[in-house]
């Protein structure tokens, strides 16, 4: 096996990777920008290299600096984490060319699933259910024709988009005509391409995703699903596993379909297939993320597995040693993403952590990159901690999360903990009656209450 792993990331995910490496006896190299010189990942790795200034394009996204850091430290493997370079096929290729083992999918797989239109076409050819949609639109007249054939409401999407950006819900052809050129210009500015297409729009979908692992010996395993319907502007906030909306039969059928599809492409390492679940109970493929995801711990807890360690073993060429399908989740897990932001306005709240007490006790796990006296720099992602709980049932997991949040003290910055508390107290959430519009509707209620009070 390789001996020394460079982690091309920062924050909680860099620590997450350092921890699995250390448990396996691998040495670790942290890379950091100037503002992260005292960050926890910098302090906990065996070695740390400053690779550039705060601006990510000159540090965490700067491939030559990261490769040079691997060279001078003698690292022989690289874990990209999530975000930054994790879905950049050139980075995976460059690592391979420089003799560094990339702990993740093959570059051609990253490229294949990176473009949304080609990913949809590929998924369709592999037998995955696809949300009805169109090919790329040529101009506004073509767009109107295609949208009418599909039937309003439709979702206009940028082919190069992702993470929920570059999308418009359109309910009539007048709306479409009004926004088309703007959407095209936005797409060109944001993603460097003005390629647009349509998808059928589901009014109140759930976001369901399946975790997969593939090894170099042709084994593909599906490790159940996660429900990530609690989102704000398509950014996930709270995730859980399993989903109350899936029956054992639905889970089994989709797992079998995914195993067939991913075996055909010979998928390697960890990946996630995202789906929408509509009101009729139909799952349709959204996209495939060829990397580890933020919310991977809920799967780890209910499946009793260390996904990062599996990625390391897979990269080393070892076969997966998981029990035969189907793997069934044990108990229920919930994750709350604690962001450094105002719980009402969502304005970022960077600063110095003046006081810190993290939740503990049975069934509580905290993955975090902050410490008392440490700084949350304004240059990066606002995620400062993930609180994850595991309990035998969903109501017990909800009670445990409420308890864990009530213990948590993060001073000096504002966090979205009050927002999580509102979600967890809501009767609809308790009943599992949720959709990707839950948060939007919850906030609507809050605004309404405030208005009534005045």
């Amino acid at each position: 096996m390789f001996n020394k792993v460079l982690i091309a990331n920062r924050g909680e995910i860099a620590l997450r990777v350092i921890r699995s490496c250390r448990e396996r006896g691998l040495r670790t190299v942290a890379v950091h920008s100037e503002v992260d010189a005292d960050a926890l990942h910098t302090r906990l790795a065996d070695e740390a290299i400053c690779i550039g200034p705060a601006d990510p394009s000159r540090s965490y996204l700067h491939i030559p600096a990261i490769i040079a850091a691997a060279e001078i430290t003698g690292a022989d493997a690289v874990h990209p984490g999530y975000g930054f370079l994790s879905e950049n096929p050139e980075f995976a290729e460059t690592c391979a060319q420089c003799g560094l083992q990339f702990i993740g999918p093959r570059p051609e797989q990253i490229r294949l699933w990176g473009d949304k239109v080609s990913a949809r076409a590929l998924a369709k050819s592999l037998g995955l259910p696809i949300l009805e949609g169109t090919g790329l639109v040529e101009d506004v007249e073509d767009a109107v024709k295609k949208a009418e054939n599909l039937g309003f409401p439709v979702l206009l999407k940028a082919s190069g988009g992702g993470g929920g950006r570059g999308m418009h819900v359109l309910r009539s052809k007048e709306e479409l005509r009004a926004i088309f050129e703007t959407a095209r210009a936005e797409s060109r500015a944001a993603f460097g391409s003005d390629a647009l297409y349509f998808e059928r729009f589901i009014e109140r979908p759930r976001h369901i995703e399946f975790q997969i692992l593939g090894d170099m010996h042709g084994n593909i395993h599906v490790l159940g699903e996660r429900e990530c319907s609690i989102q704000r502007r398509h950014q996930k906030i709270l995730e859980e596993a399993p989903s109350v909306a899936l029956t054992e039969e639905m889970r089994g059928d989709m797992s079998a379909t995914i195993v067939r599809a991913m075996s055909e492409v010979g998928y390697l390492s960890a990946g996630t297939l995202e789906f929408l679940l509509d009101e009729r109970g139909e799952l349709t493929f959204l996209e495939m993320n060829p990397r580890i995801q933020v919310e991977h711990p809920v799967t780890e807890l209910v499946m009793g597995i260390d996904l990062i360690d599996e990625q390391i073993r897979i990269a080393d060429g070892q076969p997966l040693e998981l029990p035969a399908e189907p793997l069934t989740p044990r108990g229920h897990a919930i994750e709350c993403r604690i962001n450094a932001e105002d719980p009402d306005t969502f304005a970022p709240s960077p600063g110095v952590i003046t006081e810190l007490h993290m939740a503990g006790g049975t069934g509580v796990r905290v993955d975090s990159g902050i410490y008392g006296g440490g700084r949350v720099p304004p240059h990066y992602d606002p995620l400062v901690a993930k609180i994850i709980v595991h309990a035998p049932t969903r109501p017990q997991a909800i009670a445990k999360m409420r308890r864990a949040l009530s213990e948590t003290i993060i001073g000096g910055i504002r966090t979205n903990i009050p927002l999580h508390q509102r979600i967890l107290e809501h009767p609809a959430f308790e009943d599992g009656r949720i959709s990707t519009r839950f948060l939007e509707e919850l906030q609507g209620e809050c605004v309404l209450t405030a208005t009534v009070r005045h």
């Binding site: 503002v35 030559p64 040079a68 304005a347 709240s349 110095v352």
Partner: protein
């Protein structure tokens, strides 16, 4: 409501210690409200002060000399390997005591098999060479101390 002065003081203290702008207490048919202007809210003010924090003023160009109490320093613009000479058996580009001119090559920092020549941004004299030949350097590491002329 029989609210005495002490209780009113408690309410004001409670308001002060919290992020609230208004406290209203209602009992039977009586109501008392304590409020203040939102401006002095501790939490909001602190965050506003932090939010626009400028990104640190990092040297943008390759070899901007960092000024310090004891001289000017040439810092490494990349992470890589430091070489003092153009080839393993060649003479070093510069030595202690050498006068250097603007734009003169001082050393090489190798990153990804690319030899990046580092040029002087100031004229002066090399006072100290801070890194050994062939050693790794990080971004921002001090390479040379220079007395500017």
């Amino acid at each position: 409501m029989k609210l005495n002065l002490d209780q009113l003081r408690d309410l004001i203290r409670l308001l002060d210690e919290s992020n609230l702008t208004e406290i209203e207490v209602e009992q039977d048919d009586d109501r008392i409200r304590v409020r203040r202007d939102p401006a002095p809210v501790a939490g909001a003010a602190a965050s506003d002060a932090v939010a626009p924090a400028p990104t640190s003023s990092v040297p943008q160009s390759a070899t901007l000399a960092a000024e310090d109490d004891d001289g000017d320093y040439v810092t490494s613009p990349f992470v890589g390997t430091f070489y003092r000479s153009p080839s393993p058996d060649g003479d070093p580009f510069v030595d202690v005591g050498d006068s250097i001119a603007l734009g003169q090559v001082l050393c090489i920092v190798e990153a990804m098999k690319l030899m990046n020549e580092i040029e002087a941004e100031v004229a002066g004299t090399i006072v100290e060479i801070l890194v050994e030949n062939g050693k790794p350097v990080e971004y921002g590491d001090r390479l040379f101390r220079i007395e500017t002329s």
